[in-house]
Amino acid sequence: MSEMVDRDDSQQLVERVEQAREPGGRLTIIGQGSKHFMGCEPQGESLDTTDHCGVIEYEPGDLVLTARSGTPLVQIEQLLAQQGQCLGFEPPRFALNGSAAGTLGGAIASGLSGPRRPWAGAARDFVLGMTMVNGEAQRLHFGGQLIKNVAGFDLPRLMAGSMGTFGLILDISIRVLPVRPAAVTLQHVLPASEALAKMIEWQRQPLPLSGLVYGQGVLSVRLSGTAEGVLSAREIIGGDELNDAASWWDGLRDQTGAWFAEPGAVRRISCAAAAELPEIGGEWVLDWGGAQRWYRGDAPLAMLEAYARKIDGQLSCFRGADRKKPIPLADPRLVEIHGQLKSAFDPHGVFDSGRLLVQPPLAAGLQSSFLSDPAAK
């Protein structure tokens, strides 16, 4: 196991934010840079969190771990594994130079979740509390170490997925889960329509599911539970057992598997699991039991947009696509709320907002702090 470094760099980080409040200052928060491809090209000076690292507190019996934002995910997962625990939402660890990367802060700021998400919950569901620095260089603490906490607005969850546009996360208390004692992955070769029907049918049953994905003609089902529970569920699912399943699921989770290694932009549609299948040429992977659909192919964006609209889904350009493409917020009121919330945390526009680019036009008076173009600042 790589050695866990314990270092509190918060004073320096807060000072950097304080300095950036001067005119022309702008910071883009970066951990290990594994999610560099998301959103617009980062703008401003890098605010590096990797020196702010280490686990502050870990109580296995309380299912909670508190760590600094720059702590590498792999180190946290190794520590948890020693106690038979894990990060339930399987945060993607997009590889850098061939090895799994990412920090806890990056995992929460990006809000991404892996294959287990429909059954275990998303990144935001596991966030219990947080210390952050807003654009006024104020150190704020919200939430706590318990799943139940209804004091004040739920700002820790709002921070999840906000891509560092509200402020810098200093430390996070996160709920952890026990690793289930047994797991098996079963596969069926099926056409897409039959595979989706199976996925819907199984999700309506009380089965110990922890992964359900269809791609390249194969439906893969992961069951996790007690040995007896997995054994009995396996009889219902049937199919062939996949050997070396753990690394196969890691390939899906970290997008290092064969499908993701192919060249071409990857687009994503988030939709209801049972939404009808696309009739669009190209390659599709249906993850999350049908609720997360990855696409790679030549279809024009307009065609994908039309499909997303038809199924009441949300299209995003995930990887290798046009980085200037705004997030599709249909309602102008939502656009306005996004701009005003950004200002509520970061009135001077210290933190790069382009990592979560929101569609213009913005409400008057907010543009100065919320446009991704530094010239507008």
């Binding site: 309380d62 429909p118 603490h141 919200f142 318990l146 739920d154 004692p181 209801a272």
Partner: protein, 498 residues
């Protein structure tokens, strides 16, 4: 909190009330606007009955358009609104004010759509929590969050309070179990948050809206996630000779990798009061009783049951009782569930508290509560969600004795301070409402409260939605001059760790 005793006085200006009622009757059917004192009186409080005030006016719209009409009117005429569901909230989140119109949403109670394939239901805010599970049971599905008030409490209120319940140790709170919300903003315009899928682009505004106690908007439609009904459910009851051992039992069940569907505890005072009320032969010598519910596939449940018995056996568990059939489980649950009515037999008044502590500090917290109970000469019973460290101390007092009322307030305050000092929070699931506004000053610093205020202003710049609830102004806290017991900043070296 200040416990109010005696009759409620109507402070409203009769002319203002009349004018408002007349204008609102232009927008709503006449019977949907209540302006007579005898009509307003039943709405003088929510389930926090200690705080009462006659509302300026009560409106009960019958559909979404009428809600919008009321909200647009309120915006144009600078009228404050207090949204209310079934009124089962325990922190005064919907307690009325003489200065505001009480907007009651219980008549919007249609289940709009059930989509079994996508395991969702789309419901109006007035639909009762339990009614959702009843409606979808035929599809083999259920809605997981189950606050104790689920027979009566409405889903709109559940969203406003981010309600939990017995089963949230496994299934989470309301915020984990909804995917789309439609609400009217402060101007009366409809906004949709969330999506048909598992996430939506942009900021997680669903998280912000859930638990915001009606301060950011008025929810008129909720899409809830449904789960498959478990194949098997068992309930195990175990007694423990002392609290320490029971606490260790709880920790070890979790550490053994088992997340029970429910994990509840009763302390000795509660056991005694309940036994005298319901006579189910509970062991009176026990310091604690644990109720452990397991659910899943049959094979899964049986193997977990074996592990649970082995774990609690290490800590002296005795008098084990197991219920398998639905009928037997209801019987076994009845002890825990009759705790509140049982209290009514031994006291004229009781105050239900809500706070959390990390599980590892439960035994210490409970011991300290016993000491505080002695110190203030007031009985305290504990019936609570041990699985997620959510305490519900019940303070037994006599409201006709001013001395006892004052001592109850002080004791309650001390218990909350204790929980904060242990890294807990002042509310696990009942909310801040009006009850804990002042105590919030202890949990949050001035800059944190200012951040809340800026977020509030984004949604309600004029401060007309549920004014004076949930988030105290920094000014209010400054006037109180209370101690800011921030998590991790108050050392507690005397604390035993185990």
């Amino acid at each position: 909190m200040t416990i109010i005793t005696g009759a409620t006085v109507d402070r409203a200006d009769p002319q203002q009330r009349q004018k408002l009622a007349a204008e609102l009757r232009e927008l709503l059917p006449s019977h949907c606007v209540l302006d007579q004192l005898e009509q307003l009186k039943p709405f003088e409080c929510d389930a926090l009955t200690a705080i009462r005030e006659i509302p300026l006016l009560v409106v009960l719209p019958e559909n979404r358009d009428q809600v919008q009409a009321v909200m647009r009117y309120a915006y144009q005429n600078s009228v404050s609104l207090i949204p209310r569901g079934a009124g089962t909230g325990l922190s005064g989140g919907a307690s009325p004010s003489t200065d505001a119109v009480l907007l009651v949403l219980t008549k919007l109670n249609d289940i709009l759509e059930i989509d079994a394939d996508n395991r969702i239901a789309i419901v109006e805010p007035g639909v009762r929590n339990l009614a959702i599970s009843e409606a979808v049971a035929g599809h083999g599905l259920f809605y997981a969050p189950d606050p104790s008030s689920q027979v009566a409490s409405s889903i709109g209120g559940n969203v406003a309070e981010n309600s939990g319940g017995v089963h949230c140790v496994k299934y989470g709170l309301t915020t984990h179990n909804i995917r789309r919300l439609r609400y009217f903003d402060h101007t009366g315009e409809l906004v949709t948050l969330g999506a048909s899928g598992l996430d939506a682009p942009g900021y997680d505004l669903m998280a912000l809206m859930t638990g915001s106690e009606g301060m950011l908007g008025v929810v008129v439609e909720v899409t809830v996630n449904l789960l498959p009904l478990p194949e098997s459910v068992v309930l195990l009851q175990a007694a423990f000779p002392d609290m320490e051992q029971a606490g260790l039992g709880v920790m070890n069940i979790i550490a053994a990798g088992i997340i029970p569907a429910g994990l509840e505890m009763m302390d000795q005072t509660a056991i005694e009061v309940v036994e005298n009320y319901i006579h189910m032969d509970l062991p009176l010598d026990a310091e604690a009783i644990l109720l452990i519910e397991l659910d899943g596939t049959e094979a899964e449940v049986e193997s977990q049951l074996g592990s649970v018995k082995a774990e609690i056996g290490k800590f002296g568990a005795y008098d084990l009782r197991l219920a398998r059939s639905a009928e037997d489980r209801i019987k076994l649950w009845s002890g825990r569930k009759s705790a509140f009515p049982a209290m009514g037999q031994v006291t004229t008044d009781f105050y239900i508290m809500d706070a959390t502590v990390p599980r590892r500090h439960l035994p210490y917290a409970l011991r300290r509560i016993v000491e505080l109970s002695d110190q203030y000469s007031l009985r305290v019973a504990n019936v609570f969600h041990a699985g997620d460290g959510n305490l519900h101390p019940l303070v037994l007092y006599d409201a006709s004795d001013p001395g006892q009322v004052e001592r109850t307030e002080k004791l309650a305050d001390d218990i909350l301070t204790l929980c904060l000092s242990l890294g807990g929070t002042i509310s696990g699931e009942h909310g801040i409402g009006q009850e804990k506004l002042d105590k919030s000053c202890d949990q949050f610093s001035t800059v944190e409260l200012e951040q809340f205020e800026r977020v509030k202003r984004v949604f309600d710049p004029l401060g007309r939605l549920n004014p004076g609830k949930a988030i105290p102004t920094p000014h209010r806290c400054a006037e109180l001059g209370g101690l800011h017991v921030h998590q991790g900043k108050v050392p507690f070296p005397e604390l035993e760790r185990f």
